[in-house]
């Protein structure tokens, strides 16, 4: 995402925090297609994705004032809200068990990164795709499936035919490798 786009979105969110409906409309225009795609990817159901999208923007309107303290780039903040809401709904279906969506994380992770750490993060984000390619392909696919389809450790363990603990250790090692790679 270009700096100009990030700054434009940050300005819109700041205005939404002040109750500016025009800014909210503009933010919706710029971001709803991406967030709807995130909801669809996770829920694989259009009516549910639409309901979730509604929850997401209602939440954005109400919590925009907390955005500036969470230290995330604007698209990450929005995508995280969309993903967490969709996962909430996915888990509520009861077909997947056990894990909690990190729904409050976007609001709670209240750190104010220095400008250079924001730049580093932006760079790491770009590097992630390349670093995923350096993982074992099964591991990279698992990370994608967890993030974009909402799979749980139980789902992955069933898919790979191993115990959940074994699966968890394996994925954690992959995640740590990923961290090493993007931090290089």
């Amino acid at each position: 995402m270009s700096d100009a786009r990030r700054i434009a979105l940050e300005e819109l969110i700041a205005r939404v925090a002040l109750g500016d409906r025009a800014a909210f409309d503009a933010l919706y225009d710029l971001t709803s297609a991406k967030l709807y795609a995130v909801c669809l990817s996770l829920l694989q159901d259009r009516p549910e994705a639409e309901d979730t999208l509604q929850e997401v923007y209602v939440s954005v309107w109400r919590s925009a004032s907390r955005y500036l303290v969470n230290g995330l780039s604007p698209m990450t903040w929005l995508i995280t809200i969309a993903r967490n809401r969709a996962i909430d709904r996915l888990r509520a279906r009861g077909t997947r068990q056990g894990t909690t969506p990190a729904d409050e994380v976007a609001a709670i992770a209240s750190t104010e990164p220095s400008p250079e750490s924001a730049a580093i993060r932006a760079q790491e984000r770009v590097m992630l795709a390349g670093c995923l390619e350096q993982l074992d392909p099964t591991q990279a696919e698992a990370v994608r499936a967890v993030y974009l389809e909402g799979l749980t450790y139980a789902d992955l363990a069933a898919r790979e035919g191993v115990a959940i603990n074994t699966l968890r250790s394996w994925l954690r090692r992959g995640l740590l490798r990923l961290k090493d790679c993007v931090s290089r």
């Binding site: 409906r21 995508i79 993903r83 894990t99 967890v146 740590l176 961290k179």
Partner: protein, 238 residues
């Protein structure tokens, strides 16, 4: 599932792995309250979680944007009590020129909507007179033939030959000439015709194309065409 690293995770890596799991939503319900407490108490841990959220959000770049139905925005406005014309005042003098017209546009839309309700029979009549467009879709070997017909804003898509395989669906896409993401119109009916009214935001202009893709039952799970494109054809006046 092979991995050449030792099976144990070093204690100093434990936080990093936990932060990634939290960002992914992989934390067990039993552990969750304990970890949520750490987020507020431990700035370093919170920073790690935010960093993972940032990294993972890049994965969403892989998803092609899908325009939500117009009613989604209306429902959001209703829930927030914004359903009537926006009443916001400029917050300060730095407000952008392009933000101002929203209130006016909102009011204009409301007037047009009211007029549309009052003039419904007239609108229907004018639709009858609207030009008819069509697209004829065929697979390379011509075994599959699908006809799409647009009359006013009513679309009818009919399977003329070929059979949608069991366990699959054929999805219909509206492709604008501006290169934006294709918009799904729905699925080809296995028997008879699929009919719908053109969604808001889609207008007939020169260069529209209709495409069919092969998808899992119920249509593309991602909202973008995931299967092979079976056929593509321009929408032309008939």
């Amino acid at each position: 599932m092979s991995d050449d690293l030792p099976p144990k995770i070093l204690p100093e890596d434990e936080d990093e792995a936990l932060a990634a799991e939290l960002a992914l939503g992989l934390i067990d319900e039993d552990e969750a309250p304990h970890i949520a407490a750490r987020l507020t108490a431990d700035q370093d841990f919170a920073r790690r979680v935010a960093a993972w959220q940032e990294r993972f959000a890049g994965l969403a770049d892989e998803l092609v944007p899908v325009m939500p139905p117009a009613r989604a925005r209306q429902r959001i406005r209703e829930e927030l009590g914004h359903a009537s014309a926006p009443l916001t005042h400029p917050i300060d003098s730095r407000i952008r020129w392009w933000q101002r017209p929203f209130a006016l546009i909102g009011a204009a839309v409301a007037v047009v909507a009211l007029a549309a309700v009052l003039m419904m029979p007239a609108v229907r009549d004018s639709q009858k007179a609207a030009p008819v467009y069509q697209a004829q879709l065929a697979s390379d070997d011509a075994a599959m033939q699908v006809a799409a017909r647009l009359d006013g804003r009513n679309i009818e898509v009919m399977l003329q030959s070929g059979t949608v395989p069991d366990g699959r669906d054929w999805e219909i896409w509206w492709i604008k000439p501006d290169g934006s993401a294709p918009v799904s119109l729905g699925l080809v009916a296995r028997q008879g015709a699929m009919r719908l009214t053109l969604p808001e935001g889609l207008e007939v202009v020169d260069g529209i194309r209709i495409a069919l893709s092969d998808e899992p039952v119920g249509g593309s799970p991602t909202g973008q065409a995931t299967g092979p494109i079976l056929a593509i054809a321009p929408l032309t006046p008939s």
